[in-house]
């Protein structure tokens, strides 16, 4: 028994550790605080922007490391966070609205390493500073919308098939249609079933009613759609904010997580993200008396709503067009009056709906209604959040001609207001309102402090274990220490390589814990070797049996810990996930380094020759 490893195995160990070290290396260089300037509204940053940036910084006496133009963005690097902050302020003041200026952290990785795909670990918000939002989608409204659509669709369908009905109304989770006679009912059922196969039909011949509800699958699909749609829209809005490396992610059935690293101005972020603004166009009801309506006699086909000045307006209930057909919106100015306005583009469906709706109404006033949903902070009995809708007429204009897919709305009081409105409309209308149910802001100074404390903890823990192992197991202890160092390098390397992995403070704690536990496999092996030696085995036999018999124990023990870590990962959120990631990676790498890695070193040192005594 000579304890020799085939050459390929040793090479494999060396190779893996080397690769790990290579990809861990970018973390050594760290990140530079930077400011990123990108154009909004289709404007791209160019060389003149770069010059403007340099001028501004020179004027404000701000020193920077480098300023460069890449991918239509200007990136300025600074040596510290304070300078970054002041530069950010003076740049956003001087550049104006056409550009968005965002705080950023840019890897200081050397080029050769970056070209190999080397990037530093992504730092969580608790380490980098920034804002975290958890948003809840108002599913009630989303489902209500779906129900409204059903009603509209059924009506059109029945009319098309010339089936007479008394009424179509919502009822519970579905829609109830009442007919005049049993024949119509039977007809309608067979007609509708053809197109709406994935709905549930229940007829009641006594009441001449047909109840149509969504199947569970359809319900789920509708909810998923609402969530997905909201995520897409929020992502658009985040992009409009110009934040570097934002995260928009689904969580569970009705939650969306948004993380904006480096953002400190939460008020603006929230204004843009949280508002669910949409437009709706209605005809103004001229046939009825406004004053009578204000006094409580609102005609059935109309409703009252205030305009921006608090004056009541009487509008027709029928919606001419909804905001979901808006595909573009840009702030502009009226050529003649130079008043701010918003130009709007509609999609083709919206265009045809709108042109039909306006064709018969030329010369009549049309109102543009702005609707914003907000959470009240109160809750419904079922635990979901209550939302209120604030609606306001932002413009009443006489339709001059048949409107197509391009038109303008006026009535904003300032350019800033028209810009904000355009931004909200352009980013799309949310299908259902969302509420921010959780908000965490971490200051940049706290983030930096957390990094420093975490690093200190890792180093102290690491040093103590190294010393202990060396004293306790002597030369074998040194081998175990090599494995421990390799393990740390591999964890960092893998964390940097996995795109989704983020280092958080609990993640650092996970690494510390792994350092402590990683020696376990080696302790198991070394204690076995000692046992074998005590029983009088030769050193070579002791090594062989030590490794062999500890193997299954190590596997069993680690797999169970891994189960716990994976469950944490599956159900955990944010910091817990961060902890689970480092713990899982740490368990796997520590198994590799302490079983295969140390064996390679032990075999290289002691294998293949006759020895009388082991330094263990």
């Amino acid at each position: 028994m000579l304890n020799k490893y085939p050459l390929w195995k040793t090479l494999m160990v060396v190779f893996i550790v080397a690769i790990g070290a290579l990809y861990a290396l970018p973390n050594y260089y760290g990140e530079d605080p930077a400011v990123q300037i990108s154009g909004t509204k289709g404007v791209q940053a160019d060389l003149s922007t770069l010059d403007a940036v340099k001028d501004t910084l020179a004027q404000a006496n701000i020193t920077y490391q480098s300023a460069a133009l890449a991918n239509g963005q200007v990136l300025v690097r600074f040596s510290d966070y304070k300078t970054q902050q002041t530069a950010n302020e003076s740049l956003s003041n001087s550049l104006g609205d056409a550009y968005s200026v965002a705080l950023n952290l840019t890897p200081a990785t050397p080029e050769w390493l970056a070209s190999l795909g080397g990037v530093p670990m992504k730092l969580g918000l608790d380490l980098s500073g920034g804002v975290h939002f958890l948003m809840e989608v108002d599913m009630k409204t989303a489902m209500g919308r779906a129900q409204e659509n059903m009603i509209g669709d059924f009506r059109t369908n029945l009319r098309k098939e010339k089936i007479r009905y008394r009424s179509v109304n919502e009822s519970g989770n579905g829609v109830e249609i009442i007919f005049r006679n049993a024949d119509d009912l039977a007809n309608a059922e067979s007609v509708l079933k053809r197109t709406y196969g994935d709905y549930l039909f229940v007829d009641n011949e006594d009441k001449l009613s047909l109840k149509i509800t969504m199947t569970d699958a359809k319900l789920k699909e509708t909810r998923e759609f609402a969530l997905q749609q909201n995520i897409t829209i929020i992502r658009n809005r985040v992009n409009e904010l110009g934040v570097a490396e934002p995260l928009v992610q689904r969580q569970g059935a009705k939650h969306i997580v948004v993380e904006l690293p480096g953002v400190q101005d939460t008020a603006r972020a929230k204004e843009i993200l949280g508002a669910t603004a949409t437009l709706q166009f209605h005809m103004v009801d001229q046939e009825h008396d406004l004053r009578a309506a204000v006094n409580g006699r609102v005609p059935p086909g109309s409703f009252l709503v205030n305009d921006q000045n608090g004056q009541p307006q009487l509008l027709k209930k029928r919606i001419m067009l909804r905001g979901e057909h808006i595909i573009g919106a840009a702030p502009s100015r009226d050529q003649q009056t130079s008043r701010p306005q918003v130009s709007i583009d509609l999609d083709s469906k919206g265009g045809s709906i709108f042109s039909n709706a306006t064709k018969d109404n030329i010369g009549k006033p049309m109102a543009t209604m702005f609707i914003e949903s907000k959470a009240t902070g109160e809750k419904n009995p079922d635990g979901s959040l209550k939302f209120t809708q604030e609606q306001e007429v932002i413009s009443v204009a006489t339709i001059q001609a048949r409107l197509g897919s391009k038109f303008v709305i006026t009535g904003q009081e300032s350019p800033a207001e028209s810009q904000n409105l355009a931004l909200l409309l352009r980013a799309g209308a949310l299908i259902a309102p969302i509420a921010i149910v959780e908000e965490r802001t971490v200051g940049p100074s706290l983030g930096a402090e957390n990094v420093q404390l975490g690093m200190q903890a890792i180093l102290w823990g690491f040093a103590m274990v190294l010393i202990f192992m060396m004293v306790y197991y002597r030369k074998f202890g040194v081998v175990a220490n090599l494995a421990l160092a390799a393990n740390l390098v591999l964890i960092v390397g893998i964390m940097s390589l996995i795109p989704g992995a983020t280092l958080t403070l609990p993640g650092m704690a996970g690494i510390v814990l792994t350092v402590g536990m990683a020696v376990d496999a080696n302790v198991l092996i070394f204690e076995r070797i000692r046992e074998e030696l005590r029983e009088g085995k030769t050193p070579q036999q002791a090594i062989h049996h030590g490794y062999d018999s500890a193997f299954s124990t190590i596997i069993d023990a680690n797999i169970t810990t891994l189960i716990a870590a994976l469950i944490l990962f599956a159900v955990g959120t944010g910091p817990i996930k961060g902890f689970a990631v480092t713990l899982s990676i740490g368990i796997i790498t520590s198994m590799f380094t302490s079983i295969i890695g140390t064996r390679a070193v032990v075999n290289a040192l002691w294998g293949g020759k006759k020895i009388d005594k082991l330094s263990i």
Binding site: M1, T441, G461, P506, V512, G516, S552, T553, A557
Partner: protein
């Protein structure tokens, strides 16, 4: 170097009645404390607003309290966090008040009231229903972990061991929770993560011991189950101690160097490792023994190939 020089087998199991009584008392005390003191749920679970504020000079807590009280925040909990310049303020869940206003409002109040410029270190706001969901999720995570582990151990070892190790885990979790409720320490998400790590760690320990017991049942020809368990515990004792020691050392580093944000985390783990070490020696084995583990239960079912022994000799 060797810390423990063990010549004789230690009769661990002869003390198992005492250990059982000890454990049961601790569990009962923990459960009582959990029932009466409850857990001091952190913001993650209860919802509310939390602000960490850095002052230029050491903060005057009583002044901050009066300023907040006069500003209409009588329920604010104000305490130092980390250093004497850093203050943590906690507010309960509020109806009809927007969180964004709250943070700015308080910062404004304090800046005016104390005349110091303020460094906002963090602001957290969590809605109550998120908290409810988290509590549910956290409990579910713990339960799922226990069940998965139970299944794995039952599959790899034997149901008596599985029950033994899960009892040990439940024991550790209850005691750690008990400690948190007894001392009134805040229980937040990181502490929950720590408890799950305790589960992982304690299990690690228990598996190593069970593994040795299984091996010895197969290897040692004579001896009662009690004796075999004693042999196994003695053999694994130095490993158990050393691993616990190294883990304990690095956790101490985390406790003292890692900053105030993860104090709860390191406290839970430090305590959990001590109980976990104890429970892997006493609780798991005692339960397996009480359930009547025997040699026959652990003999491998597969009949070894003829000549397998010879193979071994040649190596």
């Amino acid at each position: 170097m060797q810390i423990l020089k063990i010549k004789e087998n230690i009769a661990f199991m002869s003390q198992r009645k005492l250990a059982s009584i000890f454990s049961i008392i601790l569990v009962v005390v923990s459960l009582t404390s959990l029932a009466t003191n409850k857990l001091n749920w952190g913001l993650d679970f209860t919802g509310g607003t939390l602000l960490e504020i850095g002052f230029e000079q050491p903060a005057d807590l009583s002044k901050i309290r009066t300023v907040l009280e006069s500003g209409g925040f009588a329920d604010a909990v104000v305490q130092l966090f980390g250093s004497s310049n850093d203050v943590l303020i906690r507010l309960g869940q509020r109806e009809n008040v927007k969180a964004e206003m709250l943070g700015n409002q308080i910062l404004g109040l304090l800046e005016q009231g104390t005349g110091q410029s303020i460094d906002m270190r963090r602001i957290e706001f969590v809605g109550a229903n998120v908290g409810d969901e988290l509590t549910e999720q956290g409990g579910l995570a713990m339960l799922t972990a226990l069940i998965c582990i139970l299944v794995y151990v039952a599959f790899r070892f034997e149901w008596r061991f599985a029950l033994g190790s899960v009892t040990a885990l439940a024991h550790d979790v209850i005691l750690t929770l008990g400690l948190f409720s007894f001392l009134g320490l805040e229980f937040d998400l990181t502490v929950l993560a720590a408890i799950l790590a305790v589960i992982g760690y304690s299990l690690n320990d228990t598996i190593v011991v069970s593994d040795r017991i299984r091996e010895n049942f197969r290897k040692v020809r004579k001896g009662t189950p009690e004796e075999i368990i004693n042999i196994s515990l003695t053999q694994t004792l130095s490993r158990t101690m050393i691993t616990s020691l190294t883990t304990f050392l690095v956790l101490l580093a985390l406790f003292f160097k890692g900053g105030a944000l993860i104090h709860g985390f390191s406290t839970a783990l430090l305590f959990g490792i001590v109980v976990g070490t104890y429970s892997s020696i006493y609780v798991a084995s005692t339960v397996a023994l009480a359930l009547g583990i025997s040699k026959e239960d652990l003999m491998p079912e597969v009949i070894e190939k003829e000549g397998a022994d010879q193979e071994e000799l040649r190596m």
